[in-house]
Amino acid sequence: MLAVIVSGLAIGAVYAAAALAYNVMFSTSKVLSVTTGHLFMLGSVFGAWFIGTLGWPIPLGLLGAIAVGAAFGWLTEIVAVRRVLARSDEHLWLLSTLALATMGQQAVGLWWGTEPRPFPRLIEQDFASGLADQKYWLPIGLVLVLALGLELFYRGTLWGKLFQATSEDAFAARARGIATDRVRSFSYLLAGALGGLAGFAAGQLTFAFFALGLQLTLFGFIALAVGGLGSNLGALVGGTALGLLSSVASYFFGGEFQHTIAVGLLMVVLLVKPEGLFGAKRVRPV
């Protein structure tokens, strides 16, 4: 049973990291980008390519994976978000980010291949280490560091405060002289870097697989919706709960019920507490 909990925590950490990336982008743009999971896919695929194929040292491979994730995050903002938000208040970003995500996935599939490929071992450790294996603990450790880092960033830095101001009220922030467009661009860059880093850390768990993106986009969103949109603590709790529940459901009821139960969780939370476990209730003053 301990194996079920640890593996559930590990994959839950990846879902939580995806939810965090959603939050970073959402805070400045109010967009839930479909490319979120693809940032992770790029982190794992490019990490495997840099280290496994090109033979780069691990730290350089890590930086490369973060850079690729950040670049794709930035590209998302430029191509699929900026122009759409400038021209329409409708939720057309759903289509534009889906299109970019699909193009990104297809391009990686054509170049990298459609079969999963190995991700290199990052720390010297025997494969028979059981539950102490790095493939479980790297994503778990990383997501905690990421959540803490984001909190410190939001609370302790000027850029973080700009994020918060833009998130609270973009029009008011702009009226106060904040370049909200630049803040939004930076948030996508940051989310991309975060996704690239988390994808890299989880590479041994997920393999370097071109189709990983859409799965993480979906499960990251469920984690976010359960935890509460905009809350980093909610992202952590939602991701962990989803990972554990999927793992436990699979253990007790079999793999065929894994996704049913995960989506069932989303529905229950949305029915009982539509704002999520830690989401703020939005009251519109009239």
Binding site: A3, T114, P118
Partner: protein
Amino acid sequence: MTSLSLPRAVSAALFSVLLGGTSFAQEPIKIGWLSSLTGPLSSAAIAENQGVQFAVDEINKAGGINGRKIELLTRDTAGEPTKAVNLAQQLVFSDKVHVVIGPVNSGESLATVPILAKAGIPNIVIGALEGLIDEKKFPYAFRAINTNTQWIAGANNYALDVLKKKKVAVIGDTSGYGTASAKTATELLEKAGIKPVYSVLIDPNKTDVSDEMNKAKTAGADVVMPWTAATGLMARILNTRGNMGWDVPVVGHPAVMALPIKALLNKPEYWENTFAAGYQSTTYVDGKLPERTQKLVDALKPALGGKIDFTFWWVALGYDCVKIIEHVVKTTGGLEPAKFKATLEATKDFPGIYASYTWTPQDHNGFPDRNIVVNSANSFKDGSYDKAPH
């Protein structure tokens, strides 16, 4: 109005008949080839395409079939059933092909076989799922590949009769194919008087299978039989077995010996004691391949840069599909659907490279049981394998 003299009229008539006859004789044979060259499961399609293309080039270089060149119309379905349907319709109604090979995956074939049957176009089926062949509903569909049941029966026989194992753990994945295969495997085992000690379906993208493998071990399994075409899941099963230090034999789907698995294994030795249903045609006996296979390997190898790094039976199957069509044209002079059907239904032991095919009016599955053998997964060499120890 001018009139022709009798000799000139006769000459003109003869000339036009001859010309007409010549143009008929030279009308190309149009083969539609629905191949998932990109997208998931593209590796099988790419290899099959090598065989199809090679056979077409070989026949055309030799002057065609009865003087008629083959025109190959390859369409990339990207592994998507909806795309496969659109392309099948395009091949039939717009390109006016005489016969269609494929699609490669059973999921796509489930969508296209009824369409081709309705259009009355002969179809060489290369999906392994049982339901793709129905002599009444799809009278022009003939299968060249083995059925899924033949793979499963071959692996079951090896586990029970050769390895003498009785406590079987059956693992399937949650895809339609994995679920149906695991069900068939269990039914066949039960027919042989064996009730699996553990059965489970796993999501093909599940990142950890420790609990399933631990449960199988706790249940006392002495052989693990995975039925999934998902490379990632298969590699995780082998890695978990290796990491647990559990030396239980794994006997199952051919995906377990596909080359991409090798790179995903934590250690090369994790591939030992692993076996899968394979083919007589691509099995080394005393270090040698069957003569027909070796001939094709030798012919193709230079074009592939001197080494074959994919499973060769796909190539052999692709090659055979075109040779089956050649057999029909040579026998009947054309590809008229009724004659196509009659010719193949009367074909017995047609010597292909992948297999020797026999079809009857009652059975459009051409692949014989005897051509299935079990291979050692880690014995890959030039696309073929060693026979599993007996």
